[in-house]
């Protein structure tokens, strides 16, 4: 390049915003359309288009443009915008590393400078591979943390889907690649190379070659450490995190599904706790009923309130004597009334009828002087019409 390196950096610094815009375009589409480039240039000033060519930042591809790899990678790196590589893509290093190693092993007798070049290339490939793994891990971690925080407010189903995808297509394959015990893994291959390099750095005729092997060896040691670290992050941090997201999202999905219609699903069985009582519910009443049959009912006398008058007894003899003493009586019922009237001038019917029985004594003579004019005797509830009866002793005194 004819331009000063500082100028290029200055340009990048000065025109950071349009650079990022162009970067975004390429990241999305894979290239930069001519119209899109013109748009960006119009926004930020025409002269940048010239500079982009002069500094060899952009290159033409048919009618469109794209960043030169070195600039794109640089921007990608500082922006931390790595797209996680599908592990299949990283697998390609397996082939390149294996091939180089095979050739190195086979061509020990070959031209020195080819061997040195091969070792150099091997270091290069290993470095690319290691960086690829590191970038992948960083990106996956970032994406996973974002998913956990759910910044995009993704639906639970989508969360489960993504988490499952990552586990299946990224993490598990990555783990396999980094597994040093796995025969087919790159890590295993590198281990093999390291052993070989360790051997070759100590034996062999050529000093330079041995030095290169030594460089390779130490580099591989470092790479191994790095890979181990990445592997740890994957298994200890990333995998559990994603698993947790998946599990939580599944649980939450389950909760929400259940709440849609709680009667639809069968809930877990819980024990129905019953209280077993030794006696029945009706014990109390039954017992009461049983005892009642043995009760002795006391006779209860109920006193009617109010003083009771002593019952009136018809003293026949006394009244007979009274009657005799008054004989002859002109008006029998009048005499009854006289004897039976109480303070209120009332004669009680019962008493009247009792006295009337005196008339039936055999030794009394009755006369009925006036049958057409009955007399009245008032009792407590009636008025009786009675004849006038003359009473005399029978026979001649």
């Amino acid at each position: 390049m004819k331009t000063e390196p500082k100028s290029i950096l200055y340009f990048l610094w000065n025109y950071y915003d349009p650079m990022i815009e162009l970067f975004d375009l390429q990241a999305k589409e894979g290239y930069i359309k001519k119209e899109a480039l013109l748009e960006v240039c119009n926004k930020h000033g025409h002269d940048i288009e010239v500079k982009l060519y002069d500094y060899k930042i952009l290159k033409k591809v048919n009618n469109d443009y794209e960043f030169r790899t070195v600039f794109y990678s640089f921007l990608e790196f500082i922006l931390n915008e790595f797209k996680p590589l599908l592990p299949e893509t990283i697998e390609k290093y397996h082939y390149s590393i294996s091939e180089l190693f095979r050739k190195i092993r086979k061509g020990l007798a070959e031209e020195k400078f080819i061997q040195l070049q091969r070792i150099q290339d091997l270091i290069g490939e290993t470095r690319d591979f290691s960086e690829g793994v590191e970038n992948n891990t960083i990106k996956l971690l970032t994406a996973t943390r974002e998913l956990k925080a759910n910044m995009e407010k993704i639906d639970y189903r989508e969360k489960i889907h993504r988490a499952s995808e990552w586990i299946e297509y990224y993490i598990l394959p990555m783990n396999k690649i980094l597994d040093i015990h796995h025969q087919q893994s790159i890590a295993n291959k590198l281990y093999e190379v390291a052993n070989f390099a360790n051997e070759k750095r100590l034996i062999g005729d050529d000093e330079q070659t041995r030095q290169q092997f030594e460089k390779l060896y130490y580099f591989l040691l470092q790479t191994n450490d790095n890979l181990l670290k990445q592997s740890k992050i994957l298994t200890n941090e990333l995998l559990p995190l994603i698993e947790r997201i998946r599990t939580e999202s599944i649980i939450l999905s389950g909760c929400i599904e259940f709440l849609k219609d709680p009667r639809d699903a069968e809930p877990p069985t819980l024990l129905k706790s019953t209280r077993d009582m030794v006696y029945s519910r009706h014990m109390m009443l039954n017992a009461k009923e049983f005892w009642e049959q043995f009760e002795v009912a006391e006779k209860v006398f109920i006193e009617v309130p109010g003083a009771r008058e002593p019952a009136w007894l018809f003293d026949r003899i006394a009244y007979r004597e009274k009657l005799e003493a008054r004989l002859p009586i002109e008006d029998f019922f009048g005499w009854c009334t006289e004897n039976l009237e109480d303070g209120n001038k009332i004669v009680e019917s019962e008493k009247l009828f009792s006295l009337t029985t005196l008339l039936f004594d055999e030794d009394l003579q009755l006369e009925f002087p006036d049958k057409n004019n009955p007399l009245r005797v008032r009792t407590e509830n009636m008025v009786y019409r009675v004849p006038k009866i003359k009473v005399d002793k029978y026979g001649i005194l």
Binding site: E248, I250, L252, G254, C255, L259, P267, P268, T269
Partner: protein
């Protein structure tokens, strides 16, 4: 036959529908004599004893479905609200202490308010308090005070239920709308 001093408590608690928990000596005894107790409950009552790593409980064919359903609703609502609040609900159930007031807040302002009102056990503050007391009796929660409580490992039964339900539904073909 020798019975351990915990035997009576084990049997009584489990028959009361309580969960036995990892930190209790009864639980340790139960685990030690797992085979015996599994058979014991089966033979004596035809109940199945479920022992997990940190809790144990009985299930029977005559299940208390209403209660179980209400508990599931309670957990589902709580998980949903915790998540909406930006919290990690699994961690909260595992370690956190809850306050009745916070719980009330979630329920009173939940998007599922209709469902809550329709449920006799959860419809208002008093009902919810009674419900929480019931959970305490069954050792599903542990009350630290009148207002604070935390969940025992028993919560896993209901979380597992939600997870299994989700898996089942996901496997079902989605109805075309």
């Amino acid at each position: 036959m020798e019975y351990s001093k915990y035997h009576k408590r084990i049997v009584q608690s489990l028959l009361d529908g309580k969960f036995l928990l990892r930190n209790e000596p009864e639980f340790l005894e139960l685990r030690e004599k797992e085979l015996y107790y599994v058979e014991f409950f089966k033979a004596s009552f035809d109940y199945e004893l479920k022992i997990a790593s940190d809790y144990a409980y009985l299930i029977s064919g005559e299940t208390n479905e209403m209660l179980s359903r209400d508990i599931c609703i309670f957990f589902s609502l709580l998980c949903y609200e915790l998540d909406r609040d930006g919290k990690n609900f699994v961690d909260e159930l595992n370690y956190a202490e809850f306050e009745m007031e916070a719980l009330e807040n979630y329920f009173a302002h939940s998007a599922y308010i209709d469902l809550i009102h329709a449920n006799k056990q959860l419809k208002d503050k008093d009902a919810r308090r009674n419900f929480v007391n019931m959970l305490n009796r069954r050792n599903i929660i542990e009350k630290r005070s009148e207002e604070r409580f935390s969940f025992t490992p028993a919560y896993k039964v209901f979380i597992d239920f939600a997870r299994d339900l989700a898996k089942k539904r996901m496997e079902q073909p989605q109805p075309v709308e």
